[in-house]
Symmetry: C2
Subunit: 382 residues, 2 copies
């Protein structure tokens, strides 16, 4: 069964204090319908990815709420998988189409984080950790800091090498009008920024962000014919222990390896075939590990590949995070997985403007929940 | 495709202060595997229904957490749809099997509510309402109280008539060793109990409860052959506006009508064919409305039918809430939808002990989120 992306829309990402979650949802739902040239009555179900609305905003039952915004009474489902909520919602939406329950489905990823004091948001994010991690006082920056320490030690890389990740992603973000940060940065600026969790510094960390993103997917041959032809050829999920102490190796995320092996098999492609990818760079080290877990770089070699500009726009062969990634585009957690799908769709449709990856026909998204408890990998082709 | 219930387990429902969510999950996961005579490695995915863990316990990423408890790394998904979270998780699990992604899946419903001050739990539950409802200070008892006022006025029924619902359900609960309340009550006791939201009194309201329930469902012919043969022949979801003010008529829940019409069609049966049902009696009026929405009673006649003992164990033809329902069995919100499935499975398998409905071959579950924003209806047959 062919399932294609027939419409999409993403809000600006950033500190959107003047906009409510309903406003953001309304914007991207309406614009994705316009983009698909589709009447709302054609939407048969709604899937919503969100992590923090209950914890920060005391609002549950989100799927019903956003079905109201959509304006039609359709079956609606809210998925929560920490920072992977968006792509997990997409995965379930795809399964619902394959099951025969629906043909055309809207998937909304949404998060409103900056209306709350920053310590509340950080405490809320730690809801994705374990009791033991919370009791120890560690944050996600701390967990990824431990992963970074071990990675740099094992492969004899430096903090300056690690800084190349946000430098690349801010460079990419400078071409994205919807990105939270569009300023280029240097290795020196990363090194001089405040230490957050050794060896990670402020500019190694993705920001706290508001945003919403929506895609409309369909298996309806008539609608697919009208679309530009981007197809989702794989949707796979992998999992591992929630806490870092349960992992065999903290320089790899097993959930991502599991998901990507299955995804490559489902799509019938190899890692080297991927021309453009959006990966989960919540911290610099996360992108490094992702490049190796996905098979784009050999173990211990990802930072060398970034140094050689193999993942950079206009010079590389596998362009990683052309949107600016979580670091520069921003990270509204429930929306991120859907924004990744939109970025790849725009790249394959040649609609990515100044950040267009020339000739891209195969793209991939990689979206992680927690410090690696869950990962969803999608492959898109045109 | 045939999908059957091949294993199940539910914890005691009640105030389980000495047990953590992990303990409860561990109990029902292990027992459901034993019941199915299945090795855990046969479980291909985990679906989790939970509403309040983030809001009350600051724990998100629940699907990954309970995959750890299960002890194998499988794709795992958490669904949230207020008090319908359990059956919405089941609906998505069924779709995943129909999609071909998995053959055998475990669905866990879980809620831990009594560890928190009661006002926090009530505020948490209001997360399923709208901003306007919360701002007005109304509770869910208040919302259902409004529905009850209008129903009693329109159909000229009395508060004593309404009290027959909890009297029936406590009678049923007296036969259920896992129920939170196993004491029989009288109309007089209901009438004398404290007023909560006119005309609803304390004994019209389901309690705050801890509990976990798990079912294992499968399409694997070999496993179905080993099982007792209970099949899920329909799984449908309906929706409506989140707030009461958005409804055309507050004496009916449109989401339930929509879901049940589709479910009867999917299973190819009529309401009169249903011999046993578990319906969402979060408040007395909710069961009354459910009986009419599901077509068991004519509009305005449900209380007469209850008075005539048409829904009561040992006397009726459509036995409703043999478990004791939410009122007597208890209402751990994420677990309720799965407990309903287990009760119907036990009835069809003739495993319901003293509350056995003789000769039951067709059963139904009805699980509502919020004041009627979403409803899932499942039909089971043997």
């Amino acid at each position: 069964m062919k399932i294609g992306v027939i419409g999409y829309s993403t809000s600006n990402f950033g500190e959107l204090w003047d906009r409510s979650p309903r406003d953001l949802a309304d914007e991207v739902i309406k614009e994705s319908l316009i983009k698909a040239n589709l009447d709302k009555e054609k939407i048969e179900a709604l899937y919503v990815g969100n992590m923090l609305s209950g914890i920060l905003g005391n609002q549950a039952n989100l799927a019903s709420l956003y079905a109201e915004v959509l304006g039609i009474s359709v079956p609606s489902f809210r998925l929560e998988a920490a920072c992977a909520s968006g792509s997990i919602a997409l995965n379930n939406a795809i399964q619902s189409i394959k099951s025969g329950a629906f043909k055309t489905v809207l998937v909304l990823g949404i998060e409103k984080m900056t209306d709350h004091p920053q310590d509340e948001a950080v405490a809320g994010l730690m809801a994705a950790g374990t009791d033991e991690e919370r009791a120890s006082g560690i944050t996600f920056a701390g967990l990824y800091g431990l992963m970074a320490q071990e990675y740099l030690r094992r492969y004899e890389m430096t903090e300056e090498d690690l800084a190349l990740v946000p430098v690349k992603n801010h460079y990419h973000g400078s071409f994205n009008p919807k990105a939270q940060f569009r300023n280029q940065i240097t290795v020196e600026q990363v090194m001089r920024s405040a230490k957050i969790a050794d060896p990670l510094k402020l500019l190694d960390c993705s920001p706290i962000t508001d945003g919403a993103s929506a895609v409309i997917i369909s298996s309806d041959p008539a609608l697919l014919k009208k679309s530009k032809g981007v197809e989702i050829t794989a949707s796979q999920v992998g999992s591992d222990s929630v806490g870092l102490t349960g992992r065999q190796d903290i320089t790899s995320i097993n959930a991502a390896v599991r998901a990507s092996v299955k995804a490559y098999k489902e799509a019938g492609i190899k890692p080297a075939s991927v021309q453009v990818a959006e990966v989960h760079d919540c911290f610099s080290i996360a992108e490094v590990i992702a490049l190796e877990d996905l098979g784009f770089s050999k173990r211990g070699r990802a930072l060398n590949d970034i140094k050689d500009k193999k993942m950079t726009l206009f010079t590389g062969k596998t362009i990683v995070n052309p949107s600016g990634g979580l670091k520069a585009c921003g990270h509204p957690v429930g929306a991120t997985g859907i924004k990744q799908i939109i970025e790849i769709t725009m790249q394959l449709e040649r609609e990515a403007g100044k950040r267009q990856v020339e000739g891209a026909k195969i793209g991939l998204t990689h979206n992680v929940g927690g410090s690696g408890a869950i990962c969803a990998v999608h492959i898109l082709q045109i």
